[in-house]
């Protein structure tokens, strides 16, 4: 039991630091750049992506293992996963409205959250490489936490960037991309990380 626990921990830390969803796999650059306008927005986006990624990973792995693969339906996997993601996001929005009526949604909204390279990329990798439900779930949670860490750090830096005086052409998105590149540069320090042997 402890062995598997450590291997899951190792997977999780690796997914957060070494193969970070944003800085190493380059998934989810869209919500990463759009949802990081302020620290509060970043927290909302990060938590939302984490939640959706976890649930979608949990839902898609059994669907793939028990429905798609046995019936030779691999070629429609993307459509199915997209539908699952959209359905889950709709469900979460409904729940949010019920639980916190009158409060704004903490992210940019339904479709961008579901049709999101970060979520679906992690799901695709899971069904390609992962052999158990628990591992798939771990990748989902860790991928989301990696995204959360990245977007929080990025939002902190971006709040500082409001005082930057960059050339006109670089204002807005370009300087944000350069900033993200520099953050990715910092994260290369983890690329040889080897924690549990």
């Amino acid at each position: 039991m402890s062995g598997s626990f450590f291997s899951l921990m190792s997977i999780a830390l690796g997914a957060i630091l070494v193969s970070n969803v944003v800085f190493s796999q380059l998934l989810g650059a869209g919500p990463f750049l759009k949802g990081s306008g302020s620290l509060r927005a970043a927290l909302g986006t990060g938590l939302a992506v984490t939640l959706v990624m976890t649930l979608t990973s949990a839902a898609c792995w059994p669907v793939n293992e028990y429905i798609l693969v046995p019936n030779g339906l691999k070629f429609v996997e993307m459509a199915i996963f997209l539908l699952i993601a959209v359905f889950l996001v709709e469900l979460l929005e409904l729940l949010w409205r019920k639980l916190a009526p009158g409060r704004e949604l903490p992210s940019t909204g339904g479709l961008p959250l579901a049709a999101n390279c970060a979520v679906l990329g992690v799901v695709l990798q899971n069904v390609q490489n992962v052999s158990s439900f628990l591992q798939s779930l771990t990748y989902g949670v860790a991928g989301g936490l990696g995204f959360l860490l990245a977007i929080l750090l990025f939002a902190g830096v971006r709040e500082r960037l409001e005082f930057a005086e960059c050339p006109k052409a670089f204002e807005g998105l370009p300087i944000a991309l350069v900033t993200a590149g520099l953050l990715a540069l910092c994260f290369t320090g983890f690329s040889n990380l080897n924690i549990f042997g």
């Binding site: 902190g156 910092c186 994260f187």
Partner: protein, 344 residues
């Protein structure tokens, strides 16, 4: 600042008596403090250490001048911050580094990391460190060729890979979990203290760096909070991860090895990229220490540059959460502020 300087008459609140202390004076002090380390570098690695540093300084100043000229901004070469970046970048490179590589590092540090964001005070990463990390990402073999001290290099290109020139550094032994004098580098503790080891130009001599750091502290240029928190954390964690038999020696080797002294005294104390609140500074130092040891133990790399850069990234957050409460402000102020500055 700049607007005021350009005007003939200024209207400003008190104090009205100007002080000669400005960026230029601080940077000059930093340059002076780096001289002993440069001298040791030249002593151990030959005149090429000086040439490489000079090229790097020149490169930084030229790139800064060209960029500001191209964007029609007032020149800022006079504040010497680019010169400090140049020296620090050269100090964090091996002496055998080809000149063109260090010029690429200068370009990245000055143009991409610093000036693109608006110049001094606007960058969020330490330019010299970012330049170094970029170089080790792009030109790893050149960045990790460690030259045996005493191999005198003249100005020409180094003969890379020649036998008997390259050597193992104490850090390599530390990564393997053995003390240097029992490992492949065969370096002794006093060698590490004086700088008679393989490594980057400016990082080898802990003695010279400590001299420089003491000078900066006495001149009031840097505060001890960050270096003390940084080195203290590294010491404690090194003690915790040491082999059982030689814990205290292990701690000393961890403290003297790699780029720790250079990083803790000269790079982690950069005003621009560190928090400006006292508690933020302490947390910054502790974070640097934890990440350094973490990367040294698990990461397979010399973690100092990455640790400081990662903490630079965290600095705005640390600053935000350690900001002292305004005197007399109501306790609910924070919530209100967040509401006001809500989404986007």
């Amino acid at each position: 600042m700049k607007e005021y300087q350009d005007r003939k008459l200024t209207v400003a609140p008190s104090p009205h008596i100007g002080s000669p202390v400005g960026t230029r004076a601080f940077m000059l002090d930093v340059l002076i403090a780096l001289v002993p380390a440069l001298a040791m570098g030249i002593f151990f690695f030959g005149p090429r250490a000086l040439a490489l540093t000079a090229v790097s300084v020149l490169g930084c100043e030229v790139f800064e001048g060209l960029y500001r000229l191209a964007l029609k901004k007032p020149g800022s070469g006079g504040d010497l911050s680019a010169a400090v970046t140049g020296v620090l970048l050269a100090f964090a490179c091996p002496v055998s580094m080809p000149y063109w590589i260090i010029l690429i590092g200068d370009f990245f540090a000055i143009v991409v990391v610093k000036q693109l964001f608006g110049g001094l005070g606007k960058n969020f990463l330490n330019p010299a460190l970012a330049g170094r990390v970029f170089l080790s990402l792009c030109y790893l073999p050149e960045m990790t060729l460690w030259i045996r001290p005493g191999t005198k290099f003249w100005l020409g290109l180094a003969q890379t890979g020649a036998d008997g020139v390259s050597t193992a550094t104490p850090m390599a032994d530390l990564h393997n979990g053995v003390l240097p004098w029992m490992g492949t580098s065969g370096v002794r503790l006093h060698d590490m203290f004086y700088g008679n080891i393989g490594g980057c130009i400016g990082e080898v001599s802990a003695l010279a760096l400590l001299f420089g750091g003491a000078y900066l502290v006495l001149r009031g240029v840097i505060h001890l909070r960050i270096p003390a928190a940084y080195l203290g954390t590294v010491a404690v964690l090194a003690y915790a991860t040491a082999p059982l038999t030689a814990a205290s020696q292990w701690v000393l080797v961890q403290l003297l090895g790699g780029g720790l002294m250079l990083g803790a005294l000269f790079m982690a104390t950069d005003y621009v990229t560190t928090p400006c609140t006292p508690w933020g500074e302490v947390l910054f130092g502790i974070g640097c220490g934890i990440l350094t040891v973490f990367l040294r133990v698990f990461g397979g790399v010399e973690g100092v540059s990455y640790a400081i850069l990662l903490m630079n990234v965290c600095a705005p957050l640390l600053e935000k959460f350690t900001r002292p409460r305004r005197y007399g402000a109501p306790k609910g102020r924070r919530k209100k502020e967040e509401k006001g500055g809500g989404e986007k």
